[in-house]
């Protein structure tokens, strides 16, 4: 029995020919005598046959196509990964550039849309500072008087030259003044023609006044009236303008604040006109400003100085300046170039020459 179990365990190997020749002989001898073991060998053969004869199953329809679909997807994915690795320029960088541009544009837009508010918020504080510390204000206002005096030196220089020239200075001065008058005359002639009849008669008077002022201004200096007196007058005028400026500014804040919020910060240009009859000159200037389509016209008078404030388009400023020259001696405290676009506030101070 033991022998049979041993033999049975080796039957598979024997069947495969995987036993030593000695073992093979032993098994063959046993198989010849033992029916049970030869039956076991038969069973093994039959088992193997049964297994081998198991029916083959068929693949489902479209099995190959299904597999290939997955394989192709995988192949595409592989190239997709390669493209991402090697060609980052195709997608990433343009998107980044676009995003950066968008951020910059948004930042600029936000800044621009909020900046007027910031400015209008700053102005009251600045004004408060000016009001609180007159010293500071003086230093701020200071540039205007020196500029006035500087400009006043211009005719003085001319006068010095004249002085050096000859004792006939007075005559010469008249001569100099006359051609100027003549030269200026044709210029306003055209507006007169085009202008309504009302300003018409005013024009000759203005020219007369302009001419007179010119003559009178140069006359006393050339005669030799002490410069000291002249300077004193200047100082008075300067202090007066300063006081007026201060008063104007004090009265102005509300108006300024409103203007600032509506049309940003406006620049105020101050022009000083020296005329021998301030009253008539003021009237002339007012009508002239009306003609130049100026708005917000306001007149103020303080002892010797009459002030007109008005708003007019910047491109008309030059025209105004030219016309003011015909009325009297003009000194502006702001250079006429570098003027911003849009409406500009103009302040005309009419000062009596004597």
């Amino acid at each position: 029995m033991n022998k049979c179990t041993d033999i049975e365990n080796k039957l598979s190997a024997y069947f495969e020919g995987d036993v030593s020749p000695q073992e093979q002989r032993l098994i063959e001898e046993h198989l010849a005598t033992c029916r049970q073991c030869s039956k076991a060998l038969e069973d093994i053969k039959k088992t193997m046959e049964l297994v081998r004869n198991l029916e083959e199953i068929e693949t489902p329809p479209w099995f190959k196509q299904k597999i290939m679909e997955q394989v192709r997807e995988e192949a595409e994915k592989k190239t997709g990964i390669l493209q991402k690795l090697f060609f980052p320029l195709h997608i990433k960088i343009p998107v980044e550039v676009f995003a950066t541009c968008l951020v910059v544009v948004m930042a600029v837009y936000v800044f621009k849309s909020t900046s007027p508010e910031i400015k209008s918020l700053q102005t009251p504080s600045e004004q408060a500072q000016i009001a609180d510390y007159p010293d500071k204000q003086k230093s701020k206002v200071a540039p205007s008087p020196p500029s006035v005096s500087k400009e006043k030196t211009v005719p003085e220089e001319g006068y010095k030259k004249d002085k050096a020239a000859a004792p006939q200075a007075m005559k010469k001065a008249k001569d100099v003044a006359a051609p100027r008058e003549v030269l200026l005359a044709p210029a306003p002639a055209a507006p007169i023609l085009a202008a309504p009849p009302q300003p018409g008669p005013a024009r000759p008077a203005k020219e007369e006044a302009g001419g007179k002022s010119e003559v009178l201004q140069s006359a006393p200096s050339s005669v030799g009236t002490t410069e000291f007196v002249h300077k004193k007058k200047e100082d008075i005028a300067a202090t007066d303008t300063e006081a007026q400026y201060r008063a104007g500014r004090k009265a102005a804040p509300n108006k300024l604040q409103l203007k600032a919020s509506v049309e940003k910060k406006q620049q105020i240009i101050t022009i000083t006109v020296g005329a021998d009859n301030a009253g008539t000159a003021t009237g002339e200037i007012e009508t002239m400003l009306n003609r130049l389509s100026a708005t917000n016209l306001k007149q103020q008078s303080q002892e010797s100085i009459r002030t007109i404030t008005a708003t007019l388009p910047s491109q008309k400023l030059k025209e105004l300046y030219e016309k003011l020259k015909t009325i009297g001696d003009v000194k502006e405290n702001v250079l006429l170039y570098n003027i911003p676009e849009g409406d500009i506030s103009v302040r005309i101070e009419i000062v009596n020459n004597n």
């Binding site: 039959k46 088992t47 049964l50 297994v51 198991l54 693949t59 190959k64 394989v71």
Partner: protein, 206 residues
């Protein structure tokens, strides 16, 4: 490596190599030829391993896909079909593991095969008055054989499938399973004995 493969092409020992090389150079259609050639055999192995047609289909698809992915790793040391079968067996084993955990969660199936400690298929002894073998039609015998194959443990089953069903040589099987030939043989003989005993019980007389 490539010399080995070229030699094999010249020898004609592996008719798949030509398409494998084409496939490695990026020709996806070449892989279709390989699928066409091997799909049926692969499905049969998978089916005998898993005993579930749908699972077998899934396993074959997975195996072909991973073969495509790693086709550059094929060194030509064995035939392509051997290499492919190795991949398939691994996938089938993984699937069996999943099925086991799945059935553990689902509970024991009542009409499923009952596995004993020895791994043999337990059944009521047949009544001598009605020998089953005579009443069963051919297909039913096959169902019983399959059941017996399934009753074998995994290591015995794969050897029986590869050797007795698919006719791979011991060398090829040892390559597929990465086992020494001696181990393959001893496993095979043990599997056959278990199978014979199972069939005896199921069919009464073989």
């Amino acid at each position: 490596m490539s010399n080995k493969m070229d030699d094999k092409i010249k020898d004609g020992t592996d008719e798949d190599l030509e398409f494998v090389l084409l496939c490695r150079s990026g020709d996806v259609d070449a892989f279709e030829v390989l699928v066409e050639r091997h799909q049926k055999r692969m499905l049969n192995i998978a089916y005998r391993m898993t005993d579930n047609y749908d699972d077998a289909c899934d396993v074959v698809q997975e195996a072909f896909l991973s073969a495509f992915k790693s086709i550059k790793k094929f060194r030509g040391e064995a035939r392509f079909s051997t290499w492919l079968t190795g991949i398939l067996i691994n996938h089938a084993k993984n699937r069996l593991k999943q099925m086991k955990t799945r059935s553990m969660h689902e509970g024991i199936s009542i009409d499923g095969p009952v596995e004993t400690e020895s791994g043999s298929y337990n059944m009521e002894p047949q009544s001598p008055e009605m020998p089953v073998v005579e009443q069963l039609v051919q297909k039913e015998v096959q169902v019983q054989v399959q059941k017996c194959v399934n009753s074998l443990d995994e290591t015995s089953r794969e050897v029986v499938i590869l050797r007795d069903m698919q006719g791979f040589s011991y060398e090829e099987i040892s390559h597929i399973l990465k086992l020494p030939e001696g181990t393959v043989k001893s496993r095979l003989f043990r599997a056959r004995d278990a199978l014979r005993n199972c069939l005896k019980k199921v069919l009464g007389d073989i």
